[in-house]
């Protein structure tokens, strides 16, 4: 089971955090700080895997953003790399050449997309098509609401 996923920038700024295991905020901050500094100190050719406490850390850098997952001993490292990649693909498809700024400004969308891919720390839906379909349906609902609100504002309903 994945314990958490962190997205952070090369400057060490945390952009997204998803915790599947409950920790007090203080602990979360400490873990985040430690991992960010450990990973940023590593060189590009190094392996993507780390031993950390009793967890395995799998990370990968995409442009200016690091994606970092903590998994348990029996979990598969290589496939976790591909969970990250699938997530990046989804973000990319949705935002169109995703960049760090997209994730900053639309962090809630980034969360919603992750919730379709992973639920409770386990991979839930690996089909890119199905995830995008679900997100598109959400966007449709959002647009309906906006139209409805606009109509209400001008007094049509």
């Amino acid at each position: 089971m994945m314990q958490f996923m962190l997205l952070f920038s090369r400057q060490g700024k945390l952009r997204l955090q998803k915790w599947y295991e409950a920790h007090p905020d203080k602990v979360k901050k400490k873990i985040t700080r430690e991992l960010i500094s450990t990973i940023l100190a590593r060189k590009p050719k190094m392996s993507s895997f780390l031993e950390w406490k009793d967890l395995k850390i799998v990370y990968k850098r995409y442009a200016s953003l690091y994606f970092c997952c903590a998994i348990e001993q029996q979990d598969n490292e290589l496939l976790t790399l591909e969970v990250i990649h699938r997530y990046v693909e989804l973000l990319d498809k949705y935002f169109g050449s995703v960049c760090e700024l997209d994730i900053i400004f639309n962090f809630e969308k980034a969360y919603f997309m992750l919730d379709e891919l992973m639920v409770g720390g386990e991979v839930c839906e690996t089909s890119k098509k199905n995830v995008l379909k679900a997100i598109a349906a959400q966007d449709l609902l959002q647009e309906d609401e906006i139209v409805e609100m606009a109509l209400r504002d001008i007094g049509l309903i």
Binding site: R15, A22, S48, L81, E82, E108, T126, Q138
Partner: protein
Amino acid sequence: MPAVRGDGMRGLAVFISDIRNCKSKEAEVKRINKELANIRSKFKGDKTLDGYQKKKYVCKLLFIFLLGHDIDFGHMEAVNLLSSNKYTEKQIGYLFISVLVNTNSDLIKLIVQSIKNDLGSRNPVHVNLALQCIANIGSKEMADAFGSDIPKLLVSGETMDVVKQSAALCLLRLFRTTQEIIPGGEWTSRIIHLLNDQHMGVVTAACSLIEALVKKNPDEYKGCVSLAVSRLSRIVTASYTDLQDYTYYFVPAPWLSVKLLRLLQHYPPPDDPGVRGRLNECLDTILNKAQEPPKSKKVQHSNAKNAVLFEAISIIIHSDSEPNLLVRACNQLGQFLSHRETNLRYLALETMCLLATSEFSHEAVKKHQETVINALKTERDVSVRQRAVDLLYAMCDRSNAEEIVQEMLNYLETADYSIREEMVLKVAILAEKYAQDYTWYVDVILNLIRIAGDYVSEEVWYRVIQIVVNREDVQGYAAKTVFEALQAPACHENMVKVGGYILGEFGNLIAGDTRSAPAVQFQLLHSKYHLCSAATRALLLTTYIKFINLFPEIKSQIQDVLKSNSNLRSSDAELQQRASEYLHLSVTTTTDVLATVLEEMPPFTEKESSILAVLKKKSGRMSAQEAQREARVQAREGNAAPATEKAQNAQLKTKPSSNAAFPIPQLNNSTSADLLGLSTPPATQNSIQSNTGVLVDVLGDLYGGGGTNTHNGTTTPASLSMSGATDNIKKFVCKNNGVLYENDIIQIGIKSEFRQNLGRIGVFYGNKTSMPLQAFNPTVSVGPGQQGKVTVQVKPVEPSIDAGAQVQQLVNCECIEDFNGLPDLTVGFTYGNVPQRLALHLPLSCNKFFEPTDMNGESFFARWKNLSGPLQEAQKIFKATGPMETASIKTKLLGFGMQLLEGIDPNPENFVCAAIIHTRTQQIGCLLRLEPNRQAEMYRLTIRASKESTAQILADLLAEQF
């Protein structure tokens, strides 16, 4: 500002831009505080706030939280959003809650009703939101609230696939908090059959749930094995176009494949030959595919393909039954060892560690030794080098130990600081485990100290000393080698410690050579003295007093050092005390006494290396898998030191620490006069064993008033002599130290040590009253059972004990032949003019002269058969008087003085032991078997001994202990 998709919340986007435009941290904090104040006032004052605005502000709070600020309000507004009928408002409410609300928050109660409503909604997107929320923050409370709804959702024919997926993983989360949530019975089969679902996403999600259920209850879910195998088989043989969107970079359903393989690892290889064959075919196919040319150059293709491959290898290792597959797996990993992808090299090294422990593939792994050593030298990534070290450790056996240890030593010189300590431990363990020639072992450890002295933990140098003390053949070599090592101009303090200890014990063995004459040895050690820490100096002082005993010719030289102001008036109390006491010892005692006090250390009890325990504690990686590996290695080597013994190891630490080498009572201890009495080598086997939880600090306990039986001081002598004493004396069969007797007037403590056929018992008499005890006269006499079989010499004591004071009496004893019963100890004194007489026993039983003996199963049974004479065996069947706990039984058997031999009796519940009784005239071999019957709460004890009569004596003694 980039476009915001769907243009949800402009205000949020503006705020985020503002924050990003802040030039400094202060400006950012200021902007945030302004926004927080704004939101707070909106939430408080504005009653007309609509859902959209609430959503916007909650979202801003979320953003502020993600920036790392604490958020202490807004939770209620988020909870309100849950009951909105607008999807996006609900969604933001759920997001806030899953990011900010902890499992145990009081808010959970408030949201349970909203979640319940959404779970029952006819709109599947609402149901899904609720399920995802539970999967994120699910708690026991939620398990209680939704335990019945979610399983229904999961198996209902009407549920949409996407909801089923979330439901499966939601249930998994709740199952992790509350295992009872999964209904048994017909549900089991309905859940298992989700593996047959047409929708791959449903199978993927369900597979994780089933894996968790299987872990808890493998038998109930056994039916999933054949379903999983056939599903796997369909995937593995599918072409990549078959599975459409579930094919990932030309690899068919890698996530589901890996989950299925993982699920199957919870079971042994299937019994059904058909299923088993099909599974092996799958594994075969996966291994074959690894050899095919890649369908894509993309790393995603290779990662997904290899993810499945590694999981397949993992199940092959787990089954450990198909030699052919194991060897193929090993060859495949061998290819990866020199792959250009660092990740693959890393994983190959890691996985090979496990292969190295299988008897089928151990040899195959060894073929890659050179590549692994090369990895150690050339890998640029320390985490990969770490894996290489692990693998070398795992593949090491007698045949390659010297080479591997040498390579590890070479690497240690340049190794990263982060892994040095662990490497030192590993080298030390390998050197000990595979040493055929202990001079090699000594060389390796001294090299370790030389190369990485700072990383050599105490356990490592304790251990080398234990081994040198126990092995006569290596003592001279060790003395010579440390002497040479100490000649280096700069040598590590740990080297000084080892050198000091070894020369103090065995310096005489090299003293014949003029180059290492006594004075030279002393000067060499003393040249390091002033550079060392206080602990090391203390150890060296002990070495010096040992030198006075070994080499009388340099006595005056050493006395000068002890006398020097820097020692005699050292600011360190320990050094001061040692210097002054050793000085007096050397001045006042005769050479005989000195020789007795400073006798050579007796051998340490042979125990599993304490270093191994340290290594396990140190490396977090020592997971269950690692433990399994450990077990396999041991099984392979026929090394029968089971894990339980390791646990005991912690208790049975045999540390030749500077203190233990010559214990110095604490300064504040009024009884420091007993320095010479009992502080001869404390590490005799018996006293070590008595450490196992039964050690009562005689001195500390004395005035604690924790007596077992208190008597009124005016009771008659007759009644005094009765109870209290008898209770405790029994316990002394299995222990050597503790309180023997106590009443209101007096406490009698015992500290005893035995070695071979000799023993020394210190009896401590403490006056608990405020009046002196007069005419104090303790006597010891042997009874008929011991007459002529054991000798007891008692040192006289002063005829009075002052109020609150303690006196000590030494009893020296020798075992002539096996004996029955205990000598009498009669303590007479007058207290307030009333004569008192206590009739006790001296805790000196035949088993005290045991020396534990290790042996393997084969020789145990051979000896057992040899001792078949009718009087050589004694058997007792008796009812248990206490709880039949393994740990306490072991403690008693160890305390009894025998070696516990584990893994020998075919029934793991039984205990077998072996030991030798040393008497002046002969040695008596003794074997023991204790069979607890927990149902009947009975024991059967069988003892066989080489001398007739001994078995019965021992059986009588031990039977009363359970």
